[in-house]
Each structure stands twice: as structure tokens, then as C-alpha cells.
């Protein structure tokens, strides 16, 4: 139910993002999503990949620091008010460290949001109670 997301520390210098992507590509690992948070000096690349365990190993061999964080992938309506509705559930009152949209290519008016809750287990309980669909690793690969 929880999705392993890999966070990678990179200095804010030209070519660093390429170095990360190339080492994953060389290992036949597919990027499913990528977001970048930065503070001007350095960045945190957050990726969801086809083979997370292997990715961590590859990155560490390449001397790149990475850590695995568990995030939740939730389905929301892609129509107006979809995300607001999710955040209007009791889970929306929990601490969310960050969130971003997961790229999908379906035609079902459904969007997928990746959420990093401070308390993921409590979030799962509340989300499920509110009827929100939480996707697993396998679901994401099929999106």
C-alpha cells in the first residue's frame, strides 16, 4: 500500500541530474515520476521507479546518496474540486510534508496524487475510512 520513493541529494550544479538519470537508465530502470525540490544550493530529487531496490543499489555504487521514503499514492477525481475533496477528509488535517501529481495516461478522468504524510499509517486509516482509493506498487506500474 505504501510506495517506496527514492530521494536523492544533488548539488545544484549543471550535469548532476543527468548523472543520476544516466546511471538509472544504464541499469534498465524506468522512471515513473520525478520531482525536484531545491533551496538554491542543493536539491532533493524524488523519484518513483520500476525497480526501487535495484535503483538504490545502483545509485549507491555510483556514489550518489539516496534514501527511501514511503509515500502514498491516492486516486482523486481529475475534474474540478477533486483534490479539494481529498483534502477535505480527516486525513487532510494531518501533517503533509509534500505532495505532487503522478503522471497518468488514462482516459478515466482520474488523477493520482503522491502524498508524503508525517504519519502514513494514520493517514491510510483515515483515507480508507473516507473511501479514498490508495494505489499499490503494482497499480502504479499499470497507470
Amino acid at each position: 500500500m505504501k510506495i517506496p520513493q527514492i530521494s536523492i541529494f544533488v548539488s545544484n550544479r549543471p550535469g548532476r541530474l543527468h548523472a543520476v538519470c544516466q546511471s538509472l537508465a544504464d541499469a534498465d530502470i524506468n522512471l515513473l515520476s520525478l520531482t525536484l525540490a531545491d533551496n538554491g544550493e542543493f536539491g532533493l530529487i524524488r523519484i518513483i521507479v520500476s525497480h526501487p531496490e535495484k535503483a538504490v543499489e545502483i545509485l549507491s555504487k555510483a556514489g550518489i546518496v539516496a534514501t527511501v521514503t514511503e509515500v502514498l499514492a491516492c486516486e482523486v477525481s481529475a475534474l474540478k474540486g477533486g483534490l479539494a475533496k481529498l483534502l477535505n477528509t480527516p486525513a487532510g488535517t494531518l501533517q503533509i510534508d509534500y505532495m505532487y501529481a503522478y503522471p497518468t495516461c488514462n482516459d478515466k478522468d482520474i488523477a493520482v496524487m503522491i502524498l508524503r504524510f508525517r504519519e502514513p499509517d494514520e493517514a491510510i486509516m483515515l483515507l480508507q475510512k473516507a473511501g479514498v482509493k490508495i494505489l499499490g506498487r503494482k497499480d502504479l506500474l499499470e497507470e
Binding site: S7, F9, N39, E41, F42, I64, V65, A66
Partner: protein, 448 residues
């Protein structure tokens, strides 16, 4: 405790001014007498010096000539650390009237103590420096050296009071107020670190105050190495004469030596501090005129006599006559140091202190590098820290907190603020497995 005073012998204690001009023969006689008393004091009351001399089968009575000082083993900063806090004190604490401290490598500072007699000597040597550079009791002096445990502020302060000048104990910081005081209080002379004065010059500029139009005539600068290029710049921009005062806490603080009006070397007050130059590799004494490491023995210190202290400062002794007529010898302006210590905004820093600070903040030692630079004429220190897997958090605010934790810890140990930059592992250069810990851009290109 038995007292071995440097000025017991009546007739040998001369008024503070005359010693600058004492005929060399007489000066040497005073030095020998005081050296013998100092060795006796250190041998009898400081276990470290006693065991060092015993190892060499040396007794205080074996010091028969000034040249015999070469028989005495060297002492170093490490000795102060190893005996922290009071291990080198030669008198009872009830005799000690003042403590000062400077940063040490283990996070513990180095502690120095003064008896009232030491305080009087300190005031007098600083006063002699002030007199040599033209300060008078009519001067209104703004002292922007830091006041506190650092010997700079209070050391200069004591000399100024002894001289009878009007002291403004403004200490460092609040640069706009410094400029305002200089102007409003009709300051005629200043004292402080040269890099901070460069900052004052800039801020005065921004405030539309032309320092050249103020009443300031001269400034005494020290606590960090500064070039002749910087002197030219200061003199030009502020319309003053800038003089170098030399000292180190381990010996007494500022006032070990000072330039005279001719600005051609730092006169060492060698009736109180005996200078030698050694080859830092072979430790062999070098003749006057040859460049090497400055070694100083105190000749009158009571609370903490130090024998043959290796200052790590590289200079040469000039024994040629100075036009001012002072017979006490000079050392050349200090350009570099023989160890890895660096000075940032007047504070001595060792890379190992940064290590201690990083360890304390994170419990694991990351690879790091220190980059020193000078921005807007103020020393800056950037500590680049490689992020390890253990330190990495997926949360940006945690990473910012990590960086703050490092800088806070460094600031706590050093007493100066530094910029901490987190960087990728392996991104800092290493050569032959050994890190180049300090990159000093201040000494690369340009005289400022």
C-alpha cells in the same frame, strides 16, 4: 609557593620607557637576569617545565648566558591544551587576577592567567607600543577589538588607560554605530582588527561619511596577519597612519611587540619577551635576518611563564638600527604561519576544531573543506560538508536544519559565524587520500 620575581633585584627594574632605548649590553644583562628568574619560577612551580628540564638533566642554575636558552626544550600550544585549564600556572589562584581564553582544537579553549604584576607589565608594553606610534593622553581612542575572553579588547584597553588616553570601549560590531561614534565623539585614534576596519570604511562610504574628513590620525591594528597592501589601502581610504601591533594570548596578548612611527618592522619588547628564530624543520636557531619560526620566552610573566614557545609565525629578526633609536630588535611583519592554523576575523581556528564541531552536531565525521575568502573586506569562512546517507533526509526542512545544526555547532566552538554548504559525497577534492582542508582565497591574488 616560592616566589621568583623578575624584578626583585633592586636597581634592575627600569621605568617602562627607558628600556626601549637601553644600550644592548645592559638590555642583555636584564634579559639574562629575568630569564634566570623565569626558568627558576617555571622549574619550581610548573610540573611540565620541571619534567622537561629534568629530562635534559638541566637545572635553572645551568642557564648562565642568554645563549644557554637553547638548551631549554620548546613549548607549544599543545602543552596549554594538555594542561587545561590551569596546569601551566606558576602561582596560586589567589595571585591570579585575570583569566583570558582563546579557542582550542578540542572545543576547550586555551586558558591564560595574569597576576597583578603581569597586568601591570601588559598595560606598560601596550602603552610603549602606543607611545611608539604617536598616541598621547590627549587622544580619544575608539577600541573596536572584541572585549571579553579574547585578549585583544581588554589588552589594548589597559594600555590606553595607562597612557591616560580617553578610551571608548565600543568593542566589535554594529558598524553604523561605529561610524557614528567616530564622527560624533571626535575620535582621534582607533584600534582593532584590520579586516573589521575595512568593513567600517565601506559602511562609512555607504553612509556618506568620508573618514578622511574626520579627526582620526592613526590606528593600531593586529590580531590577524595583514599585508602592506592592506596598510596602503587603509591609510589611503581613511586618511590615517596604520600601525601593526603584535601579540599572542599564550605570551600576554597584544603588546608583545609593536611598530614605531617608521613602520619598518615590529619592535619586540624584549626586556619582557625574548625572541628567537628557528628553522621549523630542524628546530635549529637561525641568526638575525634569516626567516624562520618565531619562538618567544616570557621574561617577566608570573602567573604563566612560558619557555621557548613556538608561535608558528614565520618572520625574521631585524637587528639593524631603526631610525627611531630604539635598541630593542624588530621582527618583520608576519606573513604566514607554519602550521595549519588559520585566523578568521581575529580568531585562531584549527581545521580540527571544525571537525570537532561537525562531530558534535552529527555524531559521524563527514568529509569537509574550509574555504576562506574576503568579501566586502571582511573575512568569510565557508565550510563545505559532504552529505552522507545517514544525514540525508527526504525532507527539505530537515536538510536545512542539518545545515543550521552544523553552523551553530561551529559557531559555538569557534565563536565566529561560518557559512555551511551541504554538498554531494565525493565532490570535495582529495589528493593522495589526504584532504586539503583549508583553501585560503584571501592569500591568492590581490594584496587585500
Amino acid at each position: 609557593m616560592r616566589k621568583c620575581s623578575w624584578n626583585d633585584q633592586s636597581g634592575l627594574f627600569l621605568p617602562e620607557m627607558s628600556l626601549d632605548y637601553t644600550p644592548i649590553k645592559k638590555l642583555k644583562q636584564v634579559q639574562l637576569q629575568r630569564l634566570q628568574a623565569t626558568v627558576c619560577l617555571a622549574y619550581q612551580n610548573v610540573p611540565l617545565f620541571r619534567s622537561r628540564l629534568d629530562e635534559k638533566k638541566l637545572k635553572p642554575a645551568d642557564i648562565k648566558t642568554l645563549e644557554d636558552i637553547r638548551l631549554i626544550p620548546f613549548s607549544m600550544k599543545k602543552d596549554l591544551r594538555d594542561t587545561y585549564p590551569y596546569g601551566l600556572f606558576a602561582v596560586d589562584m589567589k595571585e591570579v587576577v585575570r583569566l583570558h581564553a582563546s579557542s582550542g582544537t578540542t572545543g576547550k579553549p586555551i586558558v591564560v592567567g595574569y597576576t597583578q604584576e603581569d597586568m601591570d607589565v601588559w598595560d606598560q608594553v601596550v602603552k610603549r607600543g602606543l607611545l611608539a606610534t604617536g598616541y598621547t593622553s590627549a587622544d580619544i581612542v575608539q577600541n573596536f577589538y572584541g572585549y571579553g575572553l579574547f585578549t585583544g579588547g581588554l589588552g589594548i584597553h589597559g594600555g590606553l588607560e595607562a597612557l591616560g588616553a580617553t578610551v571608548i570601549p565600543v568593542s566589535g560590531g554594529n558598524t553604523e554605530r561605529q561610524v557614528m561614534i567616530m564622527k560624533d565623539f571626535e575620535v582621534t585614534a582607533i584600534a582593532g582588527t584590520p579586516s573589521y576596519f575595512l568593513r567600517i570604511i565601506d559602511v562609512a562610504d555607504k553612509m556618506g561619511v568620508d573618514l578622511r574628513t574626520l579627526k582620526i590620525k592613526r590606528g593600531l591594528f593586529g590580531a590577524e596577519p595583514w599585508s602592506d597592501g592592506m596598510r596602503d589601502y587603509i591609510e589611503e581610504r581613511a586618511g590615517i597612519k596604520a600601525f601593526d601591533i603584535y601579540g599572542l594570548s599564550e605570551i600576554i596578548g597584544p603588546g608583545v611587540g609593536c611598530e614605531c612611527e617608521h613602520q619598518n618592522g615590529i619592535h619586540i619588547f624584549e626586556d619582557h619577551f625574548y625572541p628567537e628564530i628557528i628553522d621549523p624543520e630542524t628546530l635549529e636557531p637561525l641568526p638575525d635576518g634569516e626567516e624562520g619560526e618565531l619562538v618567544i620566552s616570557t621574561l617577566s610573566k608570573q602567573a604563566m611563564p612560558i619557555l621557548r614557545y613556538r608561535t608558528r609565525d614565520i618572520t625574521a629578526i631585524e637587528s639593524t638600527a631603526c631610525p627611531c633609536g630604539r635598541t630593542i630588535r624588530r621582527i618583520r611583519k608576519i606573513g604566514r604561519r607554519s602550521d595549519d592554523m588559520f585566523i578568521i576575523r581575529g580568531v585562531n581556528v584549527f581545521p580540527s576544531q571544525i571537525e570537532t564541531a561537525l562531530l558534535r552536531a552529527e555524531k559521524s565525521l563527514p568529509h569537509y573543506q574550509i574555504v576562506l575568502d574576503r568579501k566586502n573586506h571582511l573575512d568569510t569562512a565557508e565550510v563545505k560538508v559532504e552529505v552522507s546517507r545517514e544525514m540525508l533526509s527526504d525532507n527539505m526542512s530537515d536538510m536545512d536544519a542539518l545545515s543550521k545544526r552544523f553552523s551553530h555547532s561551529i559557531e559555538q566552538i569557534l565563536g565566529v559565524s561560518v557559512l555551511v554548504t551541504l554538498c554531494e559525497p565525493g565532490s570535495l577534492p582529495r589528493s593522495e587520500g589526504k584532504a586539503k582542508r583549508v583553501i585560503d582565497k584571501r592569500t591568492q591574488g590581490g594584496s587585500l
